[in-house]
Amino acid sequence: MDELRLLQELNVRKLQMQTRRHFLQKCSTGLGALALGSFIGCSDSGKPLQGINPLSTKLPPAFAKAKRVIYLHMAGAPSQLELFDYKPELAKLDGQECPGSLLEGRRFAFIQGVPKMLGPQYSFKPYGQSGTYVSELLPHFSKNVDDACVIKSMFTHEFNHAPAQLFMHTGHGRLGRPSMGSWITYGLGTENQDLPGFIVLVSGGKTPDAGKSVWGSGFLPSVYQGVQCRSEGEPVLYLNDPKGMDRNLKGKLIEAINTINEEALDTYGDPETLTRIEQYELAFRMQVSVPEAMDITKEPASMHALYGTSPGESTFANNALLARRLAERGVRFIQLFHWGWDAHGAGREEALNMGFKDRCKEVDQSMSALLTDLKQRGMLDETLVVWGGEFGRTPMRENRDGKVMTWIGRDHHTECFSIWAAGGGIKGGIAYGETDELGYYGIKDKVHINDLHATLLHCMGIDHEKLTHSFQGRPFRLTDTGGKIIPGILA
């Protein structure tokens, strides 16, 4: 009897506590759910929200030549004048003072006063049937030039590393925009539901200057952000079951948490709750799939030899081999970061005549192995591989504080830099664009970063003008208000 009375009392109290504020609160969640409905686009499908996996595969609007992307970023910006952009004229001017016309009204990161011109530090030769010029520092890659398209006329607007890296990866030089990989997984979902659609591998675990925002999801739901995997130790931190907890128990735990999360989703309709649910489930599936995918001990010795791996460490070579394993398993966007390319000449490690050579050695064999390996497995024609930094280097020798420096280096340069692309949808064995005879300005077929992004999306079957997301009152896209497809490099 007492219990019944208590219950009644509770109900009365509950009703008394219900205030106008509660009512208004419910109003807002109701509206939020409506907004979510239009965001997810479930209103016309009539499916309940819980059933929608934001990473499920979506059809590309058009036939896609490339199914996935492997993007190799050389953080610090490698010198195009030592690798791909051969300038014999510049060699003749080596050591002479830079003409004033090149300096007028310009700002450099470190160069002051009148610097001296600096000729190419390494010899170049034409390679392959295409006769693409490649520096002696890339002996392995020079064998793969007939598969790659070297773009020599890239340019950017940012001359510091962090903004330039953001620009390269998000199409905008400031924080807050989604990265390429996020846009692509947002547009196409992922093929392998047991692995993240966007995986990031970093040499030596060293995050680029711009931080993890270069693989962030910006204003897109965070389910589309890149997942950083480690090639040394546990591939994904905190993925293993804690001691004393078995997989079944973990499964039940996640089920319970997600039941609660689904209730929260019903009530508040926040897409981030959906992300949370999906991430718990993905993490659970990843416990099995990731160790298998990331285990390079399964690779035969010949593959290790081809890539030049260092088992047990987190080198670029190991990551390149992993990239191929992940590509085989249907990961949509795989991004590798290497570091240490900032060859100013301010120290031994960042000198063109010292550390730069080591950097080339660290990536040359493995990046060309990646192309060879993808090709012999019949995957290169459906995998788009891109290699490049965030900007270029000056044709002048850096003179920090106006002095002659011990080591040889070049300053940051925005007007032109070289990248290469190969595979899915890209015409191999060509050099696109030209720079002037000093390698200072692009003079023919200049390629803006937006143009590169537009072309990349095109290869993935996406129209860059149609892949948009509404945020703060206007639609955004990877190429924002710019971007033209570069027909000259399409296969």
Partner: protein, 698 residues
């Protein structure tokens, strides 16, 4: 505001003007039916007709005058339209006023005069109405037929010609037809909206009331292009919302022309190719064109797709609005005949089929049905043999065939040669020989044969150094030692006597239990790899058990580790800051040990380290004292060490102090701090550190 209201009223003219027209025509018909009859109802209806017509005509005229104020019309046409409209209204009023009279015989106005006036009114109505139409739709619109309009203005044929022929005149044959199609209905000599006439080149050059509309070379500064590119809801967007808009291709054409213009006589081949501009066109289907016509192919049977997905197949569409499918059964081993049979239900739609790394074999492959549209087939790392290749004829459209890591041999070459559409074949790691490759290349020079790398020519890599793991570094009775390699299948061979292991040395199978001090050397071997560098480790026996250990002074907090007991936990540290070291800056290290029972001791080992960068140096002097009662200690040994040198790499070291055997249980160990960083040090003279991690008494 008022101006806007007036202009709004003005815009009502084209709509309102139809009321008097309709009403007058109806009245005219009623009048003719009535004839000279005198039906009261009819007369009344006709009267009302004139009334409505007159009022409506007056309203329409007022609106029309307001509209005319806004200008942009040919004055002549407008004038005639205006006066005829006013005439119609006046006649309508007159007819209304006199209508009742014609039925009275005695009235001076005869019915024939009324007839004439009414006829005149109708003629004015038709002519005025036509002029109104001319103002809106342009001269001669009445006799333009649908077909002649298409021929004259459609830009499609011009575009089609553009890509092939190159001697056309850009303006006359491409741009003017485009303007005719989308612009001249308002910007013509009659209507000349905004004082702009686009029917010919001089008109275009002259511009409108806001000045010139093209700046050649700069589409983005040309009003013609800017207004077209503005958002549709912008008031100044052209053509206005509701009129036919330019498509993306036409916009790009216009920009291309403005950018490259040199003269009105320019030909297409004077300009850079237009095809490049077309590529970025959002709505142009040609760049996304699929390789064959799929219009006759129905979407796949959803039920069969669902069943296959339940069986583990991954099935995705190739693109939106395209029925073709990308079907994969990869990295799975449960493929059965039932699944293969299910594929039959979607065999029209399969475009790519991937069985890589699956359990597909000849028996399963034999049951596959023909797939007329299959373009790419991946059989990599499956059990199929030469036998299966005969079935490839069932896929007449096959272009890409992936056979790597299969056991096919040169026997398959004739079959491969017989696949007429095949463009690329992948035969890395198969039984196809070098001569076989040459044979296919000769027979089918256009076929891309990817045979991959030769693995035997690659330089072997060195295996990573294996590791030797123990719980502690010193032991009392016994110790378990484990070896590990990055590769679980690597062979680990070891020796315990300090000699370098060979491939014949003992193979590590399970953890070793060590009871005597050993010097372990370990090498990893694995097929295809260079053997690893030698891993080595000395494991020493610990001395007497220590009951208690105390420090004269607490070390600074950073270097307290687990307290004084850290010194006798049998675990060595590896670097400062790993929590296994006790250290003092400037001060000496003094520890007092009490053994479990009195022993004869003759040697003490002390673990220490040197790391110049961290100001840590070996002690300059080590002193051992003993005591019989634990209170008064006597020095039994003292050893001095030379000043550290600049090129001494330092690192971990065990300092061994031997002395004449003595029976005791109380020992004091003093490590004298160097005191100051040596003179060669970067920061010479700064207070240095002394480190200790382990003390063992033997």
């Amino acid at each position: 505001m008022f101006e806007k209201l007036l202009s709004f009223i003005g815009h009502a003219h084209p709509a309102l003007v139809h009321i008097p027209i309709g009403s007058l025509i109806l009245t005219f018909i009623l009048y003719r039916i009535n004839g000279r009859g005198n039906r009261r109802n009819m007369r009344h209806a006709i009267n009302v007709g004139f009334f409505i017509s007159t009022i409506a005509a007056v309203v329409a005229i007022i609106c029309g005058l307001l509209l005319a104020r806004q200008g942009g019309y040919d004055d002549g046409t407008l004038g005639w339209h205006k006066y005829l409209g006013i005439l119609v209204a006046f006649l309508s009023l007159t007819l209304w006023y006199t209508h009742q009279d014609i039925y009275k015989r005695d009235h001076s106005l005869t019915s024939s005069m009324f007839n004439s006036l009414f006829n005149l009114c109708m003629i004015a109505l038709v002519v005025g109405g036509h002029l109104g139409g001319t103002l809106t739709h342009g001269k001669g619109y009445l006799f333009k037929t649908e077909s002649s309009q298409v021929n004259a203005t459609n830009t499609k044929p011009a575009l089609a010609r553009l890509t092939s022929a190159t001697d056309q005149k850009v303006f006359a044959e491409i741009i003017q037809p485009l303007l005719n199609d989308k612009c001249t209905s308002c910007h013509n000599p009659d209507k000349k909206k905004g004082d702009l006439i686009l029917v010919d080149f001089p008109g275009l050059l002259a511009g409108g009331k806001h000045g010139p509309i093209v700046e050649f070379g700069h589409p983005d500064s040309s009003a013609l292009y800017i207004n077209i590119m503005k958002p549709l809801d912008d008031d100044t967007h052209m053509p206005p919302d509701g009129k036919r808009q330019l498509n993306e291709t036409e916009k790009k054409l216009l920009a291309w022309w403005i950018k490259n213009y040199k003269s009105v006589e320019d030909q297409v081949n004077d300009y850079p190719s237009f095809e490049g501009q077309l590529l970025s066109s959002a709505d142009d289907q040609s760049i996304h064109a699929f390789e064959f016509d799929v219009s006759g192919i129905d979407p796949a049977n959803e039920k069969a797709v669902g069943q296959l997905q339940n069986k583990g197949f991954k099935i995705y569409g190739l693109a939106q609005n395209n029925p073709m499918l990308d079907v994969a059964y990869s990295f799975k081993k449960d493929l059965d005949k039932k699944s293969i049979n299910l594929l039959q239900k979607i065999n029209q739609q399969i475009y790519t089929l991937d069985f890589s790394n699956s359990n597909l074999d000849d028996a399963l492959f034999e049951t596959m049905d023909p797939m007329p549209h299959l373009v790419s087939l991946n059989l990599n790392n499956t059990k199929i043999t030469d036998k299966s290749l005969a079935y490839l004829k069932r896929f007449p459209n096959l272009k890409k065939l992936n056979l790597y890591q299969t056991t096919i041999t040169d026997a398959s070459i004739p079959i491969l040669e017989g696949l007429h559409n095949l463009k690329s074949v992948y035969v890395w790691q198969t039984g196809i020989s070098a001569s076989g490759l040459t044979q296919i290349k000769t027979a089918k020079p256009d076929l891309e044969i990817v045979s991959g790398i030769r693995t035997d020519t690659l330089v072997k890599l060195k295996l990573p150094k294996p590791s030797i793991r123990t719980d502690t570094d010193l032991f009392y009775d016994n110790i378990k030692v484990e070896f590990a390699s990055f590769f679980k299948d690597a062979q680990l061979r070891y020796t315990l006597d300090g000699s370098i292991p060979s491939p014949e040395s003992d193979l590590y199978l399970e953890p070793l239990v060590i009871r005597q001090p050993v010097d372990i050397k370990l090498i990893a071997y694995k097929e295809g790899w260079e053997s690893s560098d030698t891993a080595s480790r000395s494991i020493a026996k610990a001395g007497f058990k220590v009951k208690e250990i105390t420090l004269e002074k607490d070390p600074p907090k950073r270097y307290q580790a687990e307290g004084p007991e850290t010194l006798i936990d049998l675990n060595r540290g590896t670097q400062p800051g790993d929590g296994k070291w006790l250290a003092y800056q400037k001060d000496d290290f003094v520890a007092r040990l009490t053994l479990e029972q009195a022993q004869t001791i003759s040697r003490i080992k002390i673990g220490t380290l040197q790391s110049a960068g961290q100001w840590a140096f070996y002690p300059r002097e080590v002193e051992i004292q003993t005591s019989t009662d634990g209170k008064t200690f006597n020095r039994i040994k003292r050893r001095n060490y030379p000043q550290p040198k600049k090129d001494d790499p330092g690192g971990l070291r065990i300092v061994e102090i031997d002395f004449t055997p003595v029976q005791t249980s109380f020992i004091k160990v003093i490590l004298k701090n160097l005191g100051k960083n040596p003179v060669w040090h970067k920061e010479k003279g700064k207070p240095s550190w002394v480190f200790c991690d382990e003390i063992s008494v033997e």
